[in-house]
Symmetry: C2
């Protein structure tokens, strides 16, 4: 700490120290990306550090220079995914009505499934295992979801939407949107989509939104 402060006085555009830090960041990002890819398809225990290293363009000892252990890396990635889901919660701070909030939630969650399906699958895998690693970390996530459920409940109490079970309603939105990440292969097969072609997420978003809005009497 003191070293950094004492030596970083001169600042010609980008110091050598900064370059090193930046490089480290880039390599760590590559490791995370490679690991997510592997974890998503092979699971934690089925993934070898070897394969992570290879995918990230590193050797195995090189990988271990940047990470402590496979389990450590896995935990980091899980926390990172939860972090990215921060913005994904239902809240009333925007001042919008139930319809718009539900629409926005479905849109954002579907966008995550579309753009980061692998990360979604790592999460699914962890839950399916009984969430042994996530256990210590997802309390805030659960709390945030709970407050979303409370918001939905308040809509029911105020007669803004039909009387539905708010917890199940929320979970079902989560389930359907998550489906498009976890069951990508099944969705493609059912839709008859060729390799390389894109799933029509506009169609999906329209239908999913309609499903949930109608069920609570908003459409």
């Amino acid at each position: 700490m003191s070293k950094v402060l004492s030596e970083d006085n001169n600042d010609p555009e980008l110091s050598a120290r900064d370059k090193i830090v930046e490089r480290r960041k880039a390599i760590l990002a590559a490791i995370h990306e490679a690991a997510i890819e592997e974890f998503a398809t092979r699971g934690v225990e089925g993934t070898s550090t070897q394969s992570i290293a290879r995918r990230a363009g590193l050797t195995k000892p090189q990988l271990h220079y940047y990470i402590a252990s496979k389990e450590d890396l896995y935990e980091d990635i899980l926390v990172q995914i939860l972090e990215e889901w921060r913005e994904l919660f239902i809240d009333a701070t925007t001042g919008e009505g139930p319809g718009e909030i539900i629409r926005a939630y479905i849109r954002k969650k579907l966008e995550f499934s579309r753009s980061k399906p692998k990360a979604s699958r790592v999460f699914t895998n962890e839950i399916a295992r009984g969430a042994p690693v996530l256990g210590k970390h997802w309390a805030p996530h659960v709390d945030a979801t709970r407050s979303g459920v409370a918001l939905i409940q308040s809509w029911v109490d105020e007669g803004k939407i039909r009387p539905i079970d708010p917890l199940l309603f929320h979970m079902h939105m989560w389930a359907v949107t998550q489906h498009y990440a976890d069951f990508d292969a099944q969705v493609r097969r059912m839709m008859g989509i060729e390799e390389g072609q894109e799933i029509d997420f506009d169609r999906v978003e329209k239908e999913v939104t309609s499903l949930f809005l109608r069920s609570c009497g908003l459409e």
Copy 2:
């Protein structure tokens, strides 16, 4: 074949040969059960034959006496799961109306998630991997689902239900019901259910049914 026929003439209650066959069946069933448990939580590649053997109460060489290889066992189990899902399809042979058929599908699928969550998860895992093994086997399954979709489409055409996207409607029913198997840990956490306690599947069935019936104007 000829041996069996020639020697099986005398039949005192249960012949020795039958006993052997029965024993084999029982052991194979134990192996399948143990393997499903392991595959569901650790994935195929993360599961060791050792752990399967141990859980089934066998030694490793003993296990290999009954199965050819781990991949072989895995494929058998996947096919077996598809087999059990045979009865799970939407069809009009009962002569019932859309409402009853949808209700019955959700009930049956939820019952499967409740009673065999592990098997469900093995399936999910395979799909998340891109269905490399299932690929050769699930054509009938896909066809059956497609005919279910066609049935739903016919309801729309005949004006029996609201104009929904039949394929997505079907997939969403699948997604929500599957959720209760794959995300058991998450569901329990959100519902605040203690270890050992049961999830209230009546409440779930009621809400899921209502969700889909309302969305197609049947409730």
